[in-house]
Amino acid sequence: MATTVDNVPKRHFSAMVANRDLILVTGKGGTGKSTFCATLAELAARRRGAALAVEMSVHARLPEMLRPESPVHAVCIDAEEAVLPALGRLLGLPTLVTRIFNNRVLRLFIRTSPAIREMIMLDELHHLVSSHAERRCPVIVDLPSSGHALSILETPLAVHRLLRVGPLALIAAQVEELLLDRSRCELVVVTLPEELPVNEAIEVVRRAQDIGLVNRTVVVNQVPHAVLEPEDGELLDILRSRGDAELGRVAEAARGEIDEVAQSRQQIERLRLAVTDRIIELPLHRDPDPSRCVSSLVEELA
C-alpha cells in the first residue's frame, strides 16, 4: 500500500521553500489549502530557519495547525486593520491618516470599494515580503478560496488600467512586479480528485497564466488509494448475487470504493490533460485533527 510520498514531491517542495520569497496558496474551499499552507510554512522554516505564514481571513486558523514550538510566525491580514498603516505609507502622512480614518465616510468608502480593500491587503503583503526578504524569511500566504483569490490577484492589473498615475497606481505596479517576478513568487493551487475542485483548479491555472504568474504547482490532495484491486470486482459480483442481504451491502459498499478510486484517477487524468503545470499527488489522510495532519505531511515531505 503506497501511502507515502515518493522523492519527486520532496525535491520539488524543498526547492520551492528554499528559493521563493513569496508562496501563494489557493484552491476551492475545503480542499485542504490551509493545511497545505501550514505544511509549506513548516517545511520552509526547517529549511531556512524561519517562515511567515499569512492568512487573509476574519478568523485565524493557521495557529492551531502549527506546532506550539513551531518557528513559523503566523499573522492575519484584516483589510480594516491594515488600512491605517497602508494609507500612511500611501500618503506619507501617518498622523493625518489617523484623523481621517476616524471619518466615517472614508471608512465606509474603503469597506464598500472592493478594489481598495484588495489593494490594501496586497500592499500589506508586499510590505511583509520586502521586510522579511532581507532576513531570508519566506512568506507563505493562505489566500482565500480560488474565486476570491483570483480577483485579489487580478486587482493590481485592474487598478493599473483604471489609474495611470498617483500613489495607488505606484503600489499596483510594485505589487504586480513582485507577483510576476519568476525568481521570487510561486502559486500553489490545491485541489481534490473530484469534478468541481478540478474544474476550479483548471480555471485558476488559466487565469493565473493570463495574469502572468508563471511558477505554478497544482497539488491534488486526498488522493484515495485502492484497498481493493480491480479484479476483486468479479468476486464482489458473486457476493452480490447470492441473496445474502448483509453480504450484498458489503459488496455494494466495496464496489463504491473501487468506483471512487477509478473516478479519482479519471479526474486527475483530466487535470493532466488540461494544464501543463507540475501536478503533485498527496495521499488521503483520515486524521481529523488539523495539527496532527500537518505534522504527518511535514514528515512525509521533509
Partner: protein
Amino acid sequence: MKEVMLPQVLDGAPLVVCLGPGGVGKTTLSAVLSLHQAAAGHRSLVLTIDPARRLADALGVPILTNDPVEITTYRKMHPAGSLSALMLDPTATFDHLIALLVGDPARRQALLANRAYQHLSRYLAGTLEYMAVERLHELTRGDQFDAIVLDTPPTTNALDFLEAPERLARFFSDRVIKRFMPQPAAGSWSARLWHRASGSVLSLLSRAAGESFVNDAVGFVSTFGDLFGHFRARGIAVGKTLRDPRTRFVIVCAPDPNRLAEARTIDRRLAEARCRAHAFIVNRVDQPFLPAARAPDALLRATALLGGAAERERVQLFIDRLEAMRRVQESSAATHAQAVEELRDYAGKRPVFVAPRVPLGQSPRASLLALYVGLFAEAADPATLREPTAQPPQPSPWTGVGRRETDRP
C-alpha cells in the same frame, strides 16, 4: 417532544438560504432541497452560482443560464409542483439592469464606456454579491416561483452576501455619495459647508489615487445617479426578505473539525446579522456498512460462498482486503458520529440532519437521488425514485459552463 423533520423546517418557506463552508456539497444539497419543495407541490427554483457541469448533468439539462430553466427530469416525483434552476451570471445581470434602468441610449452608452463601470462590473470582487442581491430581489418579487432555494456565493465568507444588501443601502445613502448627485439648493449655508467637506475628501482621494481616478469615479457616480435610489431600495427590500420570519436559513457542513468550526462561526455571524439558522445539515457522513460485531460471521459466510468460485489463496487475500476496508470505514464512521454529536450539543434545540456520503463513482443523477432519499426517506415514494433514463454522457470534459467566458478582457 416530537422530533422536527426536515420537511417541517422547509414547509411554507418562500425562501430557503443554504449557507456553509466550501466543499461540503452545498450546491447539490440546494438542488435536493428544491426538489423536495417541488415534490411538496410548490413552483420551486434553485438559484446557484456554481458552474457545475455535474449539477447540470444531475438535473438533466445541457447548461444552466442566468434565466430559469425548467427541469423535467424528476417530474414523476413532483406531479403537482415544478422545478427550475438558474445559475447567476453577474455581468449579464448588471448589463440587463443598465438596459432596464437607463432609457436614454446616449446615457447608456456613456455609462457602458466609463472605465469605472467596466471594472466594477467585470473585475472587482464583491460584484457577485451585489448582483446576487439584484437577482434575488427580482425573483422573490415575481410570481413565477413560490419556493426559492438559494445556494449562497462561494465567498471567503458566505455572510458577505447577507451583508451586501445593507452595505449597498448604507453606501448609497451616504452623504459623500449624495454630494456627487444632483446639487441641493446652491448657495445655501449647508450646501457650502458640504461642498467644503466633500472637497477635502475628494482632494485626499485624488492624492491617493490620482486625479483621473477621481474624475472617472465622479463621472461614474453622476451618470449612475438614478441607479443609486434603485440599488438602495433593492438593498433594503432584500434585507427585509432575508429577515422575513418565513425565510429559512440552513447551515450545511461536513463532519470534520475545520468545517464544523466554520459552521459555528457562520451561525454566530448569522445571529449578529439578526438572522437565525433554523437547521443544520451534515453532509457526507460515513455510515458503517457492516458493524464490527457482525463482521467475523459475515466474512466467514463470504469465504464459504466464494470457495467454489476462485482459488483459496485469492479468496483469502480478497477477504483480508474487505476487512481492511471495513476497518477504515468503521473508524471514519465513528469519527463522523462524534462530530455530529458535537454539533447537536452546539445546536441546542435546533435540528441537525445527517446526509450519508454518496460514493463518488455514481452517476450525477444517482448521487442526487441517493442524497434525496437519505434526507427525505420517509417522505419519498420509492416507485418514483427510479433513476430516469440516462442520456448519452456529455463527451466534453468541462469546457466552462459559461460563467467566466464573458469575464475575460
